[in-house]
Amino acid sequence: MTGELAIDVRDLVKTFGHKRVVNQVSLQVKRGEIFGFLGPNGSGKTTTIRMMCGLLTPDSGSGTCLGYDILKESAKIKRHVGYMTQKFSYWEDLTMRENLDFVARMYNMDNRREAVDEALEGLGLTERANQLVGALSGGWKQRLALAACMLHKPELLLLDEPTAGVDPSARRDFWEELHQLARKGISVLVSTHYMDEAERCHKLAYIFNGNLLVQGTSSEVIASQHIGTWAIHGEHLAELSEQLQRTPGIEQTVLFGTVLHVSGSNPVLLEKQLRQAIAGTSLKLEPMETGLEDVFIYLMKHTQVNGDKAV
């Protein structure tokens, strides 16, 4: 048994029609770890998660989830894993209590009533427990789904964009709770598009077009790409950004209002070009730490270029 790893999958491949959606993905998640799963839309995150919890059979590849074989022991995996689907998948024509109660019954929980009451209390929704779920706002649905998939106290949570559409304070609470769970030894794999959430994960993986490009802690991920980044402060940066994109030595510019992030893999050339570009203007140039977002955008653009070349 792989005692230490909650998820250990190797070379997962899935093809839909002629499209290879997941290509040789290997992932290791330690117990008690919060693992962030990132990648642009359609990159294969959901598909990978579904293979890990036994909902989808990979075309090839193998692995274990909580020590159970993902190919042969999906029934056991389901019992110990909490999977929150990306699309809301509870019953809108049942009340909140009925939904939670149904889930509790599905896992044959003994202390059903208490567990449901507790979950409702945790959500702060005790008064609205008998309201139909269809009448909830999007964010509340999301929070209900979260509560429901944690109801049976799973050892591993697979959360597919759990905080999409959830307000900042609820998101903060949610991440607090995830860290508390992790401290208790529960492992979490969470897909997200939010950078602040990515930064709160112990480890990250970035998938693009079905290929896992990097995996590691956030600083490892940043270091792996060997890019330097500078910030330019000032007004009217859009034109500058466009101009810089055509400049050799500059691989990426990302505009954030009054700040322009400029990245390149050759630090000497990058600095030289930037100093030239802003010479004679009132713009302020300063070096900065490359952020996750810069790296992810860099990864995405670069792989796209490589992909184009390959075709």
Partner: protein, 357 residues
């Protein structure tokens, strides 16, 4: 091998409860369960008659005599013909038929009486709008009786020799199980199968594709629920609903249509139960093929059509060519019709039913 473990049973039961809760809140489906039987019963039971009477008939009379007057008055008195007027000639008759104003033109030609008295067996010409054979068939076959009656009544004394002697034997018909030839007796028990086919196949088909369409199937599958438990949980509520529908129809058959019930109610419910189960299987098959509720609906109607046409509900089974009978025999509804009519109208027992055709 047991299909249900103890926790499995409890999960299955929760599925059933969930299904009923959802059904309770789904007004439209609920309305369908009660509405479809009532609507179909009313339509088929009250509106449809395969032995239509009082059909509009026009006369062209070119010979006025006592015997032609008797013919006309006898026609007037028969159930089948409603004389709406006289037309001057054949041309006008054709036009009226073409326009659909009338169903029959009865034409008594010139010199009818004279020719008859000469023993030439003149013809009364009847032109029928036979586009729908069911509409005209019974009326036309009643005509010979009308004429025989007229002949025996009017041709007396020396004219009696014109009337041919009846054959030295007669046919004595006993209409079994439905002495008055009442269409309801056939249609209403038949409707039971039709309604059950329609609602059972459609509802299971929809119930499962609905979970898929709304994404909740993904959730069900991610829980430790086995596919068998999902299916079994989906089926039970609809078996109950099917039995409720069957009961509604039986009550209506008794109270509204006065259909006699000769067999055992237990046999009937047992047969109904099996039939419902067969239909639910079809529904589940459909739901595993359909991607969404619309497709499930389309497939249901695709299945429903041969059921209606080839099962012997609409048209006599024995009138169908061999290949159609083979298809008909594959459909559960065909067998259910035989069984239901057997039990209700003939009082058949299981032994009879087993071999019934």
């Amino acid at each position: 091998m047991t299909l249900f473990s103890k926790p499995g049973f409890s999960r299955w039961w929760s599925m059933v409860v969930k299904e009923f809760l959802q059904l309770k809140r789904d007004r439209l489906t609920f309305g369908m369960i009660v509405g479809i039987p009532i609507m179909q019963l009313t339509l088929f039971g009250f509106a449809i008659n395969s032995d239509p009477k009082h059909m509009p008939t026009a006369l062209i009379v070119n010979d006025h005599s006592e015997i032609t007057r008797t013919i006309i008055s006898t026609l007037k008195n028969s159930d089948y013909f409603e004389i709406v007027g006289e037309l001057p000639d054949e041309e006008a008759g054709r036009r009226a038929l073409a326009q659909g104003d009338i169903q029959f033109v009865i034409n008594i030609p010139v010199d009818f009486t004279k020719n008859m008295l000469r023993g030439e067996r003149p013809a009364v010409l009847i032109e029928a709008d036979a586009t729908d054979p069911t509409a005209t068939g019974m009326a036309l076959s009643s005509l010979n009786q009308v004429f025989e009656y007229v002949a025996r009544k009017d041709l007396t004394g020396p004219l009696a020799q014109l009337v041919p002697a009846p054959p030295p034997f007669e046919a004595r018909v006993q209409r079994m199980y439905n002495p008055e030839g009442n269409t309801h007796f056939n249609v209403v028990p038949g409707l039971m199968g039709v309604i059950l086919t329609m609602t059972m196949v459609l509802m299971t088909g929809l119930a499962i594709t609905r979970e898929r369409e709304r994404g909740t199937m993904e959730n069900l599958l991610a829980m430790p629920l086995r596919p068998f438990e999902v299916m079994a949980g989906k089926i039970l509520p609809y078996i109950v609903i099917g039995l409720i529908q069957a009961t509604l129809i039986l009550i209506a058959a008794r109270l509204l249509f006065n259909i006699p019930f000769f067999g055992s109610i237990f046999s009937l419910y047992f047969a109904t139960y099996i039939f419902i189960a067969a239909n639910l299987m079809v529904g589940i098959t459909i739901s595993s093929l359909a991607r969404n509720q619309l497709q499930a609906m389309q497939m249901t109607f695709f299945f429903f059509l041969p059921n209606i046409l080839l099962s012997g509900f609409m048209f006599p089974f024995r009138g169908m060519p061999y290949w159609a009978q083979i298809i008909g025999n594959i459909l559960p509804l065909t067998h259910f019709h035989r069984v239901v009519r057997g039990i209700i109208l003939k009082g058949n027992e299981f032994g009879d039913l087993w071999q019934s055709r």
